[in-house]
Amino acid sequence: MKQTIIAASLVLATIAGSALAADQFIPIPSYRVGPYASGGAKFYGGMIDYLNYVNMKEGGVGGVKLTYEECETEYKNDRGVECYERLKAKNGGASAFNFMSTGITYAVMDRADKDKIPLMTMGFGRADAQDGSAFKYTFPLITSYWSQATAKIQFIGQRLGGMDKLRGKKIVNLYHGSAYGKETIPVLDAMAKKHGFELKHIEVPAPGTEQQSQWLDIRRERPDFVVLRSWGVMTPAALKSAQKVGYPREQIVSNWWGGSEEDAIAAGEAAKGYIAGSFALDGKQFPVIQDIEKVVYGAGKGNLSDKGFIGTVNYNRGVVSGILMVEAIRAAQKKYGAKTLTGDQIRWGMENINIDAKRQQALGVTDMFPQVRTSCQNHEGSGYTRFMQWDGKDWKPVSGWIKADTSVTLPLIKASVEKYVQEKGITLRDCNAEK
């Protein structure tokens, strides 16, 4: 009898043990070397810190511990594919990937579809992936490039004192000569048509260090605003060239990849007054950031080598990425139970993220990023962008959250999705049939 009890309790203990040992694996395809290392190290540092924070504070999500493993992509497509293949089946299967690289995301999209693993493309391409009926496993959460481009024009309208004031004005789109740089041209064209302003596209050959002639062009054109679509070294080079030709930086509006400390500080004095979009505000004023610093860094478990980077734009973006990942896992656990979930279950979770004002309050992220509510059809979940101005030392918000002009983006998305569906020969999901 006694032996049976011991045996039974042993069995129970092992069951309990294995239940406790359940964990959720999150792959971290980071880039800490190469040309984009400075941003990558902070972004993935922020993401890892948040995962550790959830583990330390709550013991994981619903008792399921979050584990992670890093793989260096160097921001290169082939290395990214290698990392994807390496991590996708490890430790019970990957939850979701966030490569922070348009190129790698494009390269693994078909694979992810087949392996049923969601891809987070928070704040980057491809823009049409917000249509979940065609792109089941791709999630351009919060805001896509196209939504952001319409927000930029609306922000310029606000600055001018109303959208009707845009009529007859002149805007230059200065873009990086790459796939990335050209992505917003059709959206801006549509906005120009709608609001009746004159739009001129000027290309800067990659990588964008040489912009003298382009800015001389701009000086001749005398545009009312310059919309900058820059990346890496192109941003500081643009600001310095603008200073040289005497173009006011207050009239340059960049997208968020030109809106981190690295971009502005590198341009020095020339960056003062420069405006950039954002989907995740910087700073340490948010309770979640303060708490991470206290809990994670207090215990000496922080991922950043230099604590001074806490609260920088890229770090906060990483934290937001972690939050969205964890919220997706939470949502999926509500449906499937608190256990190790598969990629497809996490995909369901990502389609049911609901971060409203109350949830933002609870997470300590009020105003850090807009409210997010995703669905099967809508993989973006928000579409809001906020603009910040560099005062020489810090980014200061200069607008509220501006909603994308969906009357412009939706038809473009529809056309693009149709082409994609035809090229790939896929059938659309019926979102109404799925629950």
Partner: protein
């Protein structure tokens, strides 16, 4: 000991001109082919196939292409990645614009387009050589990358300029699993490597080497300069073009012009320098070194996960990689292929070298 040749006599011309004259070599190659064609697709994991072996094979093919041009014909080129891009974009356009086009035909036509472009950019080689030619091929690199970014037609007017590969099949058999992709790549690479080896041993290869070693002397003994040099450019670009198409279709499934930037050209050049200039085997060894070493270092680094800061680890990888390149170049400037040759010679007399 392992390479004992005693008792192996060549009794016919065919035996004398065989690729592998020693029985051990034949057995070794047969075993290697059996391993890679039969055992690996059946046993290897998806990660090994699509994460490591496919990129290795594709870049070996590109290195092979550059080795024909630079190693055999002596024409320094920095445009290999551009020719890869031509192959990738041409294949894509053949597949998208001509529905029903068989994959292998599209790959071949893509290679041909790359060959044509290669010939066009090879024309300056008739007048200039050495570093000056390298700079001329650099122009190809920048020009072609610019063309594919600038003109939307090449990427079927995709808003981002990124092309994504349509579904692939051969004779109705879909190429969608890692094993089938691997077998497709392996078959193409094995066939083209065999062709390259035979070209190098045939009159065309000898003409290339004559041009490489002294072009004036080669011309004097009656080797047509125009034909030889342009053929080297055409064949080399064909190899690079097919490699580029495979890179886009089989490895990534999508590609933009920036994937074939100058860094890729340098990467391929490093492969043949480290592997061995003017050696078929060297192309494979060099590709293995350049592709696999960083991944290997990264995997080893993961053992220390948590113990050392990942930032430091990532940078340490780069330092080790650079250090190893310098080490190999000092120890064996003729590349890994020469190292292998020396090993073979040593093994012939082992264990009694005297």
């Amino acid at each position: 000991m392992f390479y004992r040749e005693s008792g192996q006599f060549k009794s016919s011309y065919a035996a004398d001109s065989a690729i592998f004259t020693i029985a051990q070599d034949r057995v070794f190659i047969a075993a290697l082919l059996a391993l890679s064609f039969v055992a690996i697709p059946g046993l290897a994991s998806d990660y090994l196939l699509s994460g490591i072996l496919i990129p290795f094979l594709i870049l070996s093919l590109a290195a092979l292409g550059l080795n024909i041009l630079t190693g055999y014909a002596g024409q320094l080129s920095l445009g290999s990645a551009a020719f890869m891009a031509v192959g990738a974009f041409a294949t894509y356009n053949f597949m998208v614009r001509l529905p029903g086009m068989p994959l292998l035909v599209a790959l071949f036509l893509g290679g041909l387009c790359a060959a044509l472009v290669g010939v066009a950019f090879g024309l300056p080689s008739l007048r200039i050589k050495g570093f000056y030619l390298a700079v001329a091929t650099l122009a190809a690199q920048f020009f072609i990358e610019w063309v594919f970014t600038k003109f939307g037609w090449f990427s079927n007017n995709s808003s981002s300029g990124v092309i994504s590969a349509p579904a692939m099949q051969i004779f109705g058999y879909p190429i969608d699993t890692p094993a089938s992709k691997y077998l497709l790549t392996l078959s193409i690479v094995a066939f083209m490597a065999l062709a390259a080896k035979n070209m190098a041993r045939a009159s065309i290869g000898r003409a290339w080497m004559a041009v490489r070693d002294m072009d004036v002397a080669a011309e004097v003994i009656g080797i047509p300069m125009l034909r030889t040099k342009l053929l080297a450019f055409a064949i080399s670009s064909f190899y690079c073009g097919v490699a580029g198409a495979l890179y886009a279709f089989v490895l990534l499934g999508t590609v933009d012009a920036q994937a074939f930037d100058l860094h890729r050209s340098f990467q391929i050049l490093f492969m043949i320098i480290i592997g061995g200039v003017g050696s078929i085997l060297g192309s494979f060894l060099g590709a293995a070194f350049i592709v696999l070493l960083p991944i290997g270092l990264n995997l080893i680094g993961q053992v220390f996960h948590g113990a050392i800061s990942t930032q430091f680890l990532a940078n340490l990888e780069m330092m080790l990689f650079g250090g190893l390149i310098i080490f190999f170049l000092i120890v064996e400037p003729h590349g890994l292929a020469r190292l292998w040759q020396i090993t073979k010679e040593k093994l012939r007399v082992w264990p009694f070298p005297h």
